[in-house]
């Protein structure tokens, strides 16, 4: 029997949660929790201990990075994928340093999001089965820096 990875989605926008649910279902993952705010996210995360956590950075009242700060010592077995908008470069870098596995910009095309999620989970899962080396933190931060569109926008501000 194939065990489906358990997914928790944290985003204050219903539309985003809905599309992520559709993507994860298409990938044959199991969405076990859907949360719209950061405060509740911390509580539910501790209850359900998901395999994959989608975490929006920019939410009102409690940011995704604050949620991550709260649970940073409890995410070793969770693949944390941050959801970002255009100008969250510094926040993304902070989240990666706090232990996030990867990041997805919300203006990424849906098939590409699905591809990123699938590949990120596979790599994370392989790592936890001892098949690969430690994550290349420096490389990942460099990837954030190199995100051409993101940086282009950031420089304008």
């Amino acid at each position: 029997m194939i065990i489906k990875p358990k997914v928790m989605i944290v985003d204050d926008e219903e539309n985003v949660r809905e599309v992520l649910k559709m993507i994860t279902s298409a990938l044959n993952f199991d969405v076990i929790a859907e949360i719209s705010n950061g405060n509740e996210a911390v509580k539910v995360f501790r209850e359900v201990k998901p395999d994959i956590l989608f975490l929006d950075i920019n939410m009102p009242f409690m940011y995704g990075d604050e949620v991550l700060e709260e649970i940073k010592n409890e995410i070793e077995a969770t693949c944390v994928i941050m959801l970002t908008a255009f100008s969250d470069v510094d926040d993304v870098k902070k989240c990666i340093k706090l232990g996030a596995t990867y990041f997805i910009r919300k203006d990424t095309s849906v098939p590409k999001i699905a591809g990123i999620v699938k590949e990120t989970w596979q790599k994370f899962n392989d790592k936890h089965k001892g098949k690969s080396q430690k994550p290349d933190l420096h490389g990942l931060i460099q990837e954030v820096e190199n995100d051409r569109l993101l940086n282009k926008y950031f420089k304008k501000e």
């Binding site: 985003d11 204050d12 926008e13 539309n15 985003v16 809905e18 599309v19 559709m22 993507i23 298409a26 990938l27 929006d56 920019n58 009102p60 908008a85 255009f86 100008s87 910009r105 919300k106 203006d107 990424t108 095309s109 849906v110 098939p111 590409k112 699905a114 591809g115 990123i116 699938k118 590949e119 926008y153």
Partner: protein, 114 residues
């Protein structure tokens, strides 16, 4: 790194995107009312209403392929968020800035060709 999503997904996503397109004029109208309320009487409730619409537009527009709406919304989101978080006071000077930026943002949304 793309993934071939099944036909069923494509049709459901198409429906959601159409819902978003259909709802956009209503969202613009709600936003306009909320911002005008805020400009006339800057209360916590009026700024919360406005922020919710702008923030939703910022995230969902990108997801449905309208990244320029998402970007503009994000810019305006950043202008009004400090009022919601009370790190900025609705002084006369700030209200003038919000009004000016809102007019630019509203004009962009109203003239946008979906």
């Amino acid at each position: 790194m793309g993934y071939d999503l099944p036909e069923e997904f494509q049709s459901k996503f198409k429906l959601l995107k159409q819902e978003y397109i259909d709802k956009l004029p209503q969202m613009i109208s709600e936003l306009s009312i909320a911002i005008n309320d805020f400009l006339q009487d800057p209360t916590e409730e009026s700024i919360k209403k406005a922020y919710t619409v702008v923030h939703n537009l910022s995230g969902s527009s990108g997801l449905y392929g309208y990244s320029d709406i998402s970007k503009k919304s994000k810019e305006f989101d950043k202008i009004i968020k400090p009022f919601l978080e009370k790190t900025e006071l609705p002084t006369e000077e700030n209200i003038i800035l919000v009004r000016q930026k809102f007019m630019e943002y509203l004009s962009f949304l109203q003239n946008y060709n979906l």
